[in-house]
Amino acid sequence: MAERAARLRARYGAGPWHLVLVTAAIVLAGWVALRVADEATAGRMLLWFLGAVIAHDLVLFPVYAAVDRVLRTLVRGRVTLLNHLRVPALGSALLFLVYSPGILRLGETTHLAATGQDQRPYLVRWLLLSAALFLISALGWLLRRRQASSKRSESA
């Protein structure tokens, strides 16, 4: 038994449980895919499934990493300032990511049919929330600078 497991490990690259688990997950997904394949919209579902991964790994991540790189060059080593920009920027971007269907008014007619209301308010609210995040962060940064400079003048 132990010998067989060792042989499997050498050939396969992991223990028997690993093989059972990944095979089960793949078989389940394959079975689901076959079931869904009859749907007229199966292609679109696959597109969204793979598209979501590509959108995250090859679009969203490179974009936010690049923006961060630009920010870091701009602040030239002032790390506290950097973080007081990063936090509200991330907050605002997160809100946009989650609530963009309303902010961009995608689906005005379904929204109206369901709720009896239009999607107009969301964009302004998002802008105001974002402004508030930046403002609070800026105030926090100013406060920190004050404290730091008063400490410096005390010790001087």
Partner: protein
Amino acid sequence: MSPKPPGVDTVERSWRSPLRGPWLTAIYGTALLVALPLVIITGLLDYAAYGPRFDQAFPTNVGWLRLPAFDWPTRPSWLFRVTQGLHVTLGIVLIPVVLGKLWSVLPKLFDWPPARSLAQALERLTLLLLVGGILFQIATGLLNIQYSYVFGFDFYTAHYFGAWIFTGAFVAHVVIKFPRLVTALRSRPLGAEARTSRAATRPEPPDPDGLVAAVPGPATVSRRGAVGLVGGGALLLAVLTIGQSLDGPLRRTALLLPRGRQPGPGPNGFPVNRTVAAAGVRPEQTGPGWRLALRGNGRTVTLDRPALLAMAQHTAALPISCVEGWSTRQTWTGVRLRDLAALAGVAEPASARVSSLEQAGLFRTAILASNQVLDPDSLLALRVNGVDLSPDHGYPARVIVPALPGVHCTKWVAEIDFRGRADG
């Protein structure tokens, strides 16, 4: 060994964050490990709440992925409010955690060679199912609750089957990685990490998975800062989402969601799921000429609204809880469904099929199980909060049943067909 394609070394060296490492990944992973099962279970409960026994849960044809059959209970009356509210709220709140977790392991995506063994190749395939699965569930869920059906496929089919693909990959991933997770959590005491400032933050020692950067840069954020950032994002989303499940002034805190808004003043000023205009129900259908048909035992009893108002009236404060996660508790008055069943000559119905005046919608009919007809608070409501129902809320009459998903609380009711045990 096969030679590396050009650029691989550059990519490897360009991962500079000194925070990436098993410990940080394990912290985000633990949060997901605790919370995602709740999202999965409450999602499956949503499917069960539709009543798959009556072929009215979508998708209807799910083969082996059928859930164990049970009657959705009517008690506690807030059951569905909590399960579905939890599903949607937690699903949203976890988004920053998912993003943080993915950030922490992203260098692995560019590993070269992509797999050193069959085991690694298969595992990477399950990771595609895992990441694709969760992003797919989040994207479809978010679009659904904001009424943007831009994806152009059936939400139910996609979200139900997507859930199974994700769940399978999630279970495999958790079991495979659990020992690593435990080791990583033990490697750095939480308390010590919480006291470590940015200046004192150092990279973790090199790990077998290669999460730790080969050439880490200086820390611009501490580890507690990175955890706090994700936690803060989760909190921000929680504060802006929970309002759609609350009544009173706090409802308006859901600033960016459709259900944070009050649709007009007065006793009928609470959220609508489908307007009378959208349902295509015309005023002449709901005027004095409206009749309710009760069928049972091959007979039909017809009632007009004054006749219904002349019957024993019952008042109950019950939540209306939408499958989209929002809910609101209102005070409904009307005739008990079990009184109507008795009137139709089926005192102990096995089920009841409720039909709306609406011609086209997916939910123009709904089947209620026996327990849902017989609950003393199950009503054919005629009034809400002391006044007549508004057209948008289902005038002349609508169903309200404790713990029943809102879409099955049929509005503009035209007919109820009570089925006995025999013709089940």
